[in-house]
Symmetry: C2
Subunit: 510 residues, 2 copies
């Protein structure tokens, strides 16, 4: 239950959480803290993939606006997706004018697709620099969830670091939510390292995923903190995605492919640091690694979910570097019980570091991310349903995909009970170009596009990845395009998007 805070509170149990006595003067209710937020402001919040985001103050603000009917249009910046207490409640209250860089909330998604919210879908490594470079409108207020505040007023984050460091640095005012439901034992997991702007930027000194290079706290200082709210609201993390049969087949295809790469001497026996997106396939692959012969694995990724915790538990992986820990509700309970086990096995970095091309390319990550649809030449759409409708966003997939040693995109070969082929003549939106996509895996098989020309790719994809229902249709398109067009990337523009159009008209691409 949310504590009310204020002068009537018993502070004796908070000595470990608020380590500078003078800061107790700033403890207030969520409703009081929400008054620092005014119309037209830019709000930067902690959190990344429903984890570590503030809850009490955003809820209080939404409630206040609902009650008062006051005008409130905010720009909301975050690390990545937030829980319903922010994205959901604020979208419902109609107070988000602009949102960046990522979201997964159904209410907010609707507002975006109805044209009520301007949404900026960004590479997650770009957001912190857009902030630091002064390109985006300046953050006025940062709302940050914390385990504790140090004597000096620095912030010990909970389980999602995201962009908190740059937001806190830029904000005039910082509101801290001390979340007593989050164990103090989280302290020490964070490794905060901040980059200077060009031309003063130095190399990021990470050469292995397990290196710590920064501080365990986010620099802030007592003066910036204008309000402290005590809460015990737990993260509303995603429910555990069940691993379905399709995902198991995709996972098996990936593991077989990785084994082959090791045999060919193109990957070390213990692979290279793993980056994995979220969802059923990602879980299937990581669970698959638990049961595999691979050993001494490492992870350099942006989010740790149940399956990656399991990979650490089963000792297949030694370490995970991430910017967020975001297990299922059950997984979260288990994680917090076992926190001493995980403490030296997880490093929580700012997303500027977890997603930085410099580090991703140097370490040579194996990037595994999900595609919405893929075309026969290897372009990937990760974001837009039928070219216009935003699903979630590109997230960090581009940061990793382009800079990976090996980048794999996965998708079931069909969707909507077989009425959509995930492989089409031309994708309706491009998030990852033909230049960035190395391997495509469906439950049908693996298309290894590395070193292939567009025409060679088309045959590799059609032959190995497409569902049998759609294979003759795609082959027919490709052959007719080859006969009728210039032959570098043969297309019949009149038909290139016809599969999508047909689906929108008839409910099926067949």
């Amino acid at each position: 239950m949310q504590k009310t805070g204020g002068n009537d509170m018993d502070f004796s149990k908070l000595d470990n959480r608020i380590r500078n006595k003078e800061l107790f003067n700033k403890v207030m209710t969520a409703e009081e803290a929400s008054k620092f937020i005014h119309d037209e402001m830019v709000i930067g919040v902690s959190g990344f993939t429903p984890s570590g985001y503030p809850k009490a103050v955003p809820l209080a603000l939404a409630e206040r606006v609902k009650q008062s009917g006051e005008k409130m249009h905010l720009a909301l910046y975050s690390g990545a997706s937030l829980g319903p207490e922010v994205d959901g409640a604020w979208a419902e209250a109609g107070i988000i004018a602009k949102r960046l860089p990522y979201q997964t909330n159904s209410k907010l998604r609707n507002s975006i697709n109805e044209g009520e919210v301007e949404y900026l879908d960004m590479h997650l490594s770009h957001t912190p620099q857009y902030v630091s470079y002064g390109i985006l409108p300046k953050v006025d207020v940062a709302i940050v969830e914390a385990v504790a505040i140090t004597e000096e007023g620095h912030i010990i984050p909970t389980m999602g670091v995201g962009n908190t460091p740059v937001f806190v640095k830029q904000a005039d005012k910082v509101i801290v939510e001390i979340n007593t439901a989050k164990p103090l034992a989280l302290e020490g997991m964070a490794d905060i390292y901040m980059l200077e702007n060009p031309p003063h930027r130095k190399p990021i000194p990470i050469t292995k995923p397990d290196q710590r290079i920064g501080t365990t706290y986010i620099p802030c200082g007592n003066d910036k903190i204008v309000g402290i709210v005590i809460t015990d609201l737990q993260d509303k993390t995603r429910p555990l995605t069940p691993v379905d049969d399709i995902s198991k087949k995709i996972s098996a295809n990936i593991l077989k492919f990785l084994e082959k790469e090791v045999k060919l001497g193109r990957l070390p026996k213990n692979l290279l640091p793993i980056q994995s997106g979220v969802g059923s396939v990602a879980n299937a692959v990581l669970y698959g690694l638990c049961d595999s012969d691979f050993e001494d694995l490492t992870c350099y990724t942006e989010v740790v979910q149940d399956s990656m915790l399991e990979l650490l538990r089963c000792k297949k992986a030694k370490l995970a570097s991430t910017t967020s820990i975001s297990p299922s509700p059950e997984g979260l309970v288990k994680f917090e019980e076992e926190i001493e086990f995980f403490k030296d096995k997880i490093i929580l970095r700012p997303q500027e570091i977890s997603n930085h091309p410099e580090v991703a390319r140097r370490l040579g990550v194996i990037a595994m991310n999900t595609a919405l649809e893929v075309d026969i030449y290897g372009n990937v759409n990760s974001t837009h349903v039928m070219g216009s409708r935003m699903m979630n966003g590109i997230g960090g997939s581009g940061d990793f995909a382009r800079n990976a040693y090996l980048t794999i995109f996965t998708t079931a070969s069909t969707a909507k009970n077989g009425n959509i082929s995930s492989i089409v003549p031309m994708v309706s939106h491009v998030d990852h170009t033909e230049h960035d996509v190395m391997v495509i895996v469906t439950e049908q098989g693996v298309a290894d596009l590395r070193g292939l020309s567009p025409k060679e790719r088309a045959l590799e994809i059609i032959n190995n990845c497409v569902h049998p229902d759609y294979k003759p249709m795609l082959l027919d398109y490709y052959k007719r395009a080859y006969e009728s067009a210039y032959k570098h990337t043969p297309h019949i523009l009149e038909e290139a998007l016809s599969w999508h159009i047909k689906f929108m008209k008839t409910g099926s691409m067949k």
Copy 2:
């Protein structure tokens, strides 16, 4: 004139060029050297943007095949584009089966678009890793143009480093063309630094464009060298592109924009390291900088042309880091006369370093590259005419664009006497996604897309960059799309590519 080499040559003048006496035994004619090349081989050649590529041996091979009629299908890897002695002569002889990662030759382009050559259009920073990681079929023979060979058998490159270091490292056999037309004074310009493969890769220690971090030679060793050919064939560099009125307007728009960014405190007074593509607009911008108030500029780029040499000459820029010097034929003569002046002002790096995301992002380059077409949501097509026909390739534009502090794409608002609008509802091919494109500049004006949602971008682009002839049509498309579709990225898929289709049918988008 091409020297014939062999035992009848006068070696006395070559002591400075071939510094190990034993290597004189390997001097041979181009025709003799061409015999190391067999059917089905992978050939890696020096050179980048018609500069520093081998000429005598490729010509001899093409001639030999023409005479003998022997079967010859080669994979040809390079740094970037090559002169007609390779791409042209080999395409004409029909001996290129696969080509990567970039080309600009009209004969080769035709062969690609007629389906005779499989062309792999790659990010230029990806090629060296694809080679080192063992992903591409291995280089059998490297043919390398050199100023000289050291006592230890290491290679002093001429004016285009490109991928020579990784090709030489991987090849079993190295053929060196000593080009006596290239001044020995070039020695010292190259700075060769090679990366280890993950997981052993270290940070690249460049924090300023003027830092030298490697050797002045490409490591090779006497044993690998199987043939040395003496030649004096000059690079067939591109003729100077005249700066037309449209380019002047685009340049003026860019300079005004940069001045504004400095005033807003978002760029330092001396800007940040400049990366500039090639062609008329690039020249106009760099000449424009010569006449501007900017001072103490630096360049971190992949190719130095006449206009960047002029920027050094006029002392506006202190230094250019590049992988290639590729002036016009007149500019080349002038450059070689003034080589002592330029010697400490140009650093020639491998393209793995000149184009590395790690360095581009750390330095915070200002990237200026050309678009073929742009769409109203900010996606850029750099490569494919009407979706199928390859023009040149993406080159290094993606390496810089995504990692730049500021990335600008330029295009004239129309092409083909106004019958093509360079701004369309949906591009027919995507090389740079909406996530990577910050600023678009045409002769009409500047669209600053940073921080904007897709809808906001559409209005910014239509209002500021589109030619008046097409503005009402695009606005009409956008408005109707907004009414009929999901409103994140409104599209009417039936019409999205209709402008291209109309052009192909009628010769005009109007």
